[in-house]
Symmetry: D2
Subunit: 408 residues, 4 copies
């Protein structure tokens, strides 16, 4: 790879990406464009602008954007249409944010004439893969710089030295090492590393940042009604809201009741297992509610096909293949299934639990006339079941007859 001339950096304004910014300038002598996105991580963005300016970035090279609506509408919601969970439990909160960041990096590169993008993910994790696969899928000629895989700033001490030598301001609380590493966006907060590295030790309570401990949650349950149209949440308690507003509101509700905590050991795409603590309060409610509305509006054949394909779909997102033909093919299949996933679900929230307790829809396939224990009004002829069973049994009978025959 020839040296980059101009790089768009995914810049948080924090110490690490500030060091990267400086390192790109000194190592490659290249111009740097910063991109700072509000994905709902709950941090002010303007300090990032000031810090970038301080590090010598020209105002026109500082991009700061609120992408929360795009994030929820075009990434989170399509994923939730699939009921996607990775390894049975993980709601993919980090995975789903990376492609959007890469998309903007590549787009800004095109706008600014940059030939490279850079990110602050390490060489051990999944995020590097997600950033880079997305970038290459959107621009095959882009260069991607991953400083953590390249430089020799491999210890905290060296990093701080580099910062000091380069006049990068270091917040007081960053002098010591954080007891674990955090990633956050509107969908979730993840914590990993350091104090969490031994999966035999329970995660200390201070790790959780976004949800109350269920033991401290209200002693009274709360009910919430989520309205859906074509598979996407569109209202809460009857009030229509934008995608990001809905997720924000669900986060408040879920966080207040201690919902969505997960302590997981997962298999990384790069080959090792890692332990993460995830908080996905709103997403946990959304998944439960989406399953609830599908339960009455989605045909069994459609639902089972979705269920069979979900693990593969979730794996693709986890592994960084959001921008791939196979993810898009699966999305086409999933979206096709959601045409009638419209209606309302009532959830009960209490001490970490979020359970569907009622659901209704004009699009419902549930037929009381068919299922009732009351005497039939003719909707269903029980005698049909005899033929149904006989023909389903036929191949099993032929198998059993073979066994009998061969044993003689």
């Amino acid at each position: 790879m020839s040296a980059p001339k101009k790089v768009v950096l995914a810049y948080s304004g924090g110490l690490d990406t500030s060091i990267i910014l400086k390192w790109l300038q000194t190592e490659y002598g290249c111009e740097v464009v910063t991109f700072t996105a509000d994905l709902g991580q709950g941090e002010e963005l303007e300090p990032a602008r000031k810090k970038a300016e301080l590090l010598g970035i020209a105002p026109e090279n500082i991009y700061i954007e609120d992408v929360r609506e795009e994030f929820v509408r075009d990434f989170v919601f399509p994923m939730f249409r699939a009921n996607a969970v990775y390894e049975g439990l993980y709601l993919l909160g980090t995975s789903i944010a990376r492609p959007l960041i890469s998309k903007r990096l590549v787009e800004i590169a095109a706008e600014t004439g940059a030939d490279a993008v850079a990110h602050g993910a390490t060489g051990k994790g999944n995020d590097q893969v997600r950033f880079e696969l997305a970038a290459y899928a959107l621009n095959p000629d882009i260069k991607v710089i991953a400083p953590w895989r390249e430089w020799d700033l491999s210890s905290r001490t060296k990093l701080l030295e580099f910062a000091e030598q380069n006049q990068i301001p270091i917040a007081k609380d960053k002098r010591g090492e954080a007891p674990f590493s955090v990633d956050a966006n509107l969908l979730h907060t993840s914590s990993e590393g350091k104090v969490l590295e031994d999966p035999a030790d329970e995660a200390p309570d201070y790790v959780y940042q976004r949800t109350v401990n269920p033991e401290d949650a209200p002693n009274e349950p709360e009910f919430v009604e989520v309205g859906f149209e074509r598979g996407d949440a569109v209202s809460i308690n009857g009030e229509a809201m934008s995608p990001a507003t809905i997720l924000t509101k669900l986060n408040e509700l879920g966080g207040k009741h201690g919902c969505g905590r997960l302590d997981l050991v997962e298999g990384r795409f790069v080959g090792m297992k890692s332990r993460g603590v995830y908080e996905t309060p709103g997403g946990t409610l959304l998944l439960e509610a989406h399953r609830g509305i599908e339960s009455i509006t989605l045909d069994r054949g459609a639902a089972h096909l979705k269920d069979e394909l979900m693990p593969k779909y979730a794996e693709l997102i986890y592994n960084g293949f959001w921008f791939s033909p196979e993810r898009e093919m699966l999305q086409a299949l999933i979206d096709k299934s959601q045409e009638h996933v419209t209606g309302t679900v009532r959830l009960k929230l209490y001490k970490g639990l979020a359970r569907t307790v009622a659901r209704w829809s004009d699009h419902s396939l549930y037929s009381e006339a068919h299922v009732t224990f009351e005497e039939d009004a003719g909707a269903y002829d029980q005698k049909d079941a005899a033929g149904f069973i006989q023909l389903n049994a036929l191949r099993l009978k032929l198998l059993a007859a073979r066994d009998k025959r061969l044993k003689k």
Copy 2:
């Protein structure tokens, strides 16, 4: 089908199967053998013996058996090795008991020279299918009688008339109709019908019989350690126990803390949707713990393959195909994966929540040396990730290059 001469009836001792017993005698004039199984449903069996005798069944034709260990060891545990859930949520508590009952019916038929078996499931549900497919798979020549599909006792009034005419004792509380229908065994209790028929109405609290309301559960969390060997639970809090004892103990723990309640609308194999309320306290703990131990002992490739096949496996059990080549093939695959699923999981139980908070094993694949945020001791070379990403990206780059080329 020619008339049966001798029938083995799945007999609970309750009013409905007593009516069936009598109806078989009068309708077909055939000899009846009763089979009453203790599957952990929590009812005394001896009254069934007395009632059968009262209805004229000879002592040698009354079979009463405790099959709880067989049920858990040969049916429940193999199923939990797969983390089987139907339609994302249902733990298959009713589905998994039916094949065992059919197996004993067919075996007793062989022992007693009976040419038919009979069950008390209706013509609308899944259970008829499960009973009959299992029976035919085990004996292709057996006759299966499903009185509910045949007779004209189609209302409560007619049933009670038949009972009175035939001197079948009717317990006082059976005169009125039950407000919902119940099935229970060691794994779960299910309730459906009547007051539960409108899925837009929350299930009344009196429906739940086996778990306390989470709101009434203890205010202090409780921890429990489940030990596994080759995928099966073998101990609780360090104490080795038999399969049925383990499930019984987990039921106590889960029930006390309000775990395992589920209110679900599901797609029946016979084509309509139905709403059920399930309580699976021990099973809910077992599933969570099994996932927890797999998370450190099961390879990612193995785990993902299991995840992809689980929905099909669950569907087969739900639909009644336990005794089918494809279920057995999937079981062979699943069992192969469990060779190292050995170790211990600590669960935290609180107000309906059951969460894995720690897990450890001599068979663990988790490697702190690989995942650590500390400086590497050489276990992992971050530079390898660059090549890994490049080759994973190659086909995406070729796709993007095509798009670029065609747009020119």
Copy 3:
């Protein structure tokens, strides 16, 4: 089911459906509308009109239509986009025609105010299922009459008697029984039954009707170029043609060279195995060519996902679920994949073989720069493969390390 008042009958004009026509009139006293479709079965349709008139059908109740273009465009081509084969070999020639016939029956019922449709398929085969599932999926209130499951005309003798009693003309060659049963349309001809019932006996040569014996095919190979756009064949040897014309032309070519014969034992949806002899000359060429053009234009991820889902897709069509949400979902996925399946394939036809020998496309993903044995121009860095392998190997190493550790 209440008695039908007006029935639309799938009418071939042959003896069997003429008997059905009369039986409907006499059994139910209902008005009959006939629908005769040209699906490319190679028979004149006008004789069917005359015969219907002879049997008392009013001219406005006689529907005769050439649906060949619709058949190929909306049914055959979408299916071939999936490379669908049932049980590894069968090209689904009969299965794919049934939904179209049912669709027209239901539409004509709506136009003519009929409340029922009728077909001539027996109670043992798959076709009854295909006809009826399609009809019910399009109109849930339609009645479907399947005379072969209802009447007592269960032998050839009885059928002929009924025909004679009802003045139905019997062609001389229909007095005796045909040595096997035939179904034909533009995609294929199938033969089964009678002389073919023992799968241990080779099918006699006179069974084949549409393809020459490869031994009698030309001694010179012939080349043919098939052009594709977005997954569908659009030209032959450079000449643009309509869908039905293309299939007709491919049939001529394939038939001349003895391509597309298949002798198969297959598993029917209704539970038993049956043996069929199929001739699909054009379809065989089309499948080979479609695979050929996909091989250079379809990404590996997309192709493998299609391959994994194909058996389920084929099974759905075979079982009669063309008009089902899950088939439509899979179709959405498949169609999404075909956006760039555009280009040309050269086939070599010789003595029953049809092999792709060359393929080219502006949409090709094949990159000589990447694959070449020549010295690299920098498109691909072989050193990347080391990292790629290391990270793919990591989980396997961790597994092997565990085995080593536990053996100590």
Copy 4:
């Protein structure tokens, strides 16, 4: 990676691996052990011994082995139980041989105290991945040396110079470059590169080495009967044979009749597409015959499950994951299905075609009593089909009723 001390080299005796041998000695100064296997590639092995000696390898460090029986019994046959084909067409002839070679390399390393193995595959292909994943899966601490990814002998000229400088004899016909690259073993011969690099050009006839051109094949068809036991071929024309003997015999038959030629563009695991010409004469016959015997002995449920999983199984083998938990899990599933795959198939071979024309077995599930067009003897009640269809249709009717309702 620290420098290896002793290396086991997969050594063919040809020029390229001789250069590698010398390069290992000079580059790393390490001791070399050679392993030359007879996989049925059709070359004498003793010249390899002489050449190794000439290059200074001690006799005790030269391993020459006939592994043909192990190859067919433990690798080829298990794979054919799955009917494995990659991307619809490729019989995986190269892929399946690599794990066996790696297994022996690792075993010989253990025997001889070597700390490394080496192979002659390039950095662009799949074989490097297959060799290395297998090696690491069997010994996590082994070093693997892939000289083609390391050295600078990147052109033919440099290679020949190195050979001359190191007194490596160069056969006259190796001075010029081969017009394409070849790999061969008992299962297949593959050719790729150079003259084959443009997939729009038909492969020249001289590329084919193992099969006659169908146009030159005998003008008379030949029949062959293949006997199977539990999924594996055990006899030809009634004569029992060892696995390798059977494959050898099938190769003769297939080669004589021009069967098993394939010209394919495939997607490599490392990301690019490549074009290969494959000849798999015996394997083509074996696949056809195996499908034939399965068609009468394998239950539909079992067969369809196998079909759905086959693409994934084939992909695993293609990508080099033979020694992985997921391949072993799938193998357990597949092997379970083969318990009754016993019987005989008659193939007709003619001008490149190999078609099943008859099959029979004591284990057959085919029941003429059920399928017959003759009047029933009571094995099957056609009326059962009505109930079967009604219940299969129920969910489709509910869908159609919803559509109707919503349109009002």
